[in-house]
């Protein structure tokens, strides 16, 4: 393909979000398959089974990477929704700040769930 000879202006934020959305999607898909595989392998998990699974430091780390991907992916998606539907700038900014605070809170909750009770 012949690349058009033109100068692209702008800060390229869109390109970064596009890439982030895809990388985090692949991470989440792989983790989903991992958990599905675990469930099928064990034929469902009871309390002791989950406790043992989450007792594995590698699984906890994988879960953390998954949750960071979820939260980052959610930020890009919700921000796009806000940009499309919330027209007044003040309201949109408020919504975006609220979403950021919520997602950071979820990140803290995730760390607490994974390493708080160890």
């Amino acid at each position: 393909m012949v690349m058009p000879n033109r100068i692209v202006v702008g800060a390229h934020y869109g390109w970064r979000d596009w890439l982030v959305q895809r990388i985090t999607a692949v991470v989440m898909a792989l983790y989903t398959l991992l958990v599905l595989g675990l469930l099928l392998w064990h034929g469902g998990l009871d309390y002791a089974g989950w406790k043992a699974t989450f007792g594995n430091e590698l699984f906890r780390l994988a879960t953390f990477v998954f949750m960071v991907s979820v939260l980052w992916h959610a930020w890009v998606g919700v921000r796009n929704i806000a940009m499309d539907y919330v027209k007044p700038v003040a309201v949109r900014l408020t919504v975006q700040v609220a979403v950021i605070v919520l997602l950071v809170g979820y990140a803290g909750w995730t760390i607490q769930v994974l390493w708080g009770g160890a």
Binding site: R22, A25, V26, A29, T32, Y47, W50, K51, F54, V70, L71, A74, G77, V78, I81, Y106, W109, T110, Q112, V113, G117
Partner: protein, 132 residues
């Protein structure tokens, strides 16, 4: 003057009547991708964190979490989130394939949209069978 030959400027911006638009299937799958994502953000993330926390805290909290999820309303919420996850997952895979220039032509794009929509519903039905 050449400018006078042009048709009169249309009033802009154009506000579309969303209820009057007959959306093609790929467009329908696309808006469901967005709606399911919003649902997963609003309810899915906090519920997942709560459930995992309860599941790991103690045998009692594990049993308590199972009871809450087994209520009819709890099952409905789990089912709705299962559909949202499945649809969002499958529609996302379709996007990733299109990024690799797979299935870009209109007939295959329509077909894959139908596959995403139907497969998500079929798998959701399987989850419903397992729940009830």
């Amino acid at each position: 003057m050449a400018a006078l030959d042009r048709p009169a400027a249309k009033p802009r911006p154009v506000y579309l009547n969303l209820l009057a638009i007959r959306l093609p299937l790929p467009g329908f799958v696309s808006i469901l991708h967005r709606a399911s994502g919003a649902l997963l953000f609003l309810i899915g993330i906090p519920l997942l964190l709560w459930a995992v926390q309860r599941a790991l805290a103690s045998p009692e909290s594990w049993a308590q979490m199972r009871v809450v999820v087994a209520y009819p309303l709890g099952k409905l919420v789990v089912l709705a989130l299962a559909w949202a996850y499945l649809h969002h997952f499958l529609a996302g895979i379709r996007h990733l394939l299109m990024d690799l220039h797979i299935g870009m032509e209109l007939p295959s794009a329509r077909r894959s949209a139908a596959v995403v929509f139907v497969l998500a519903l079929v798998l959701t039905l399987a989850v419903a069978v397992k729940l009830w």
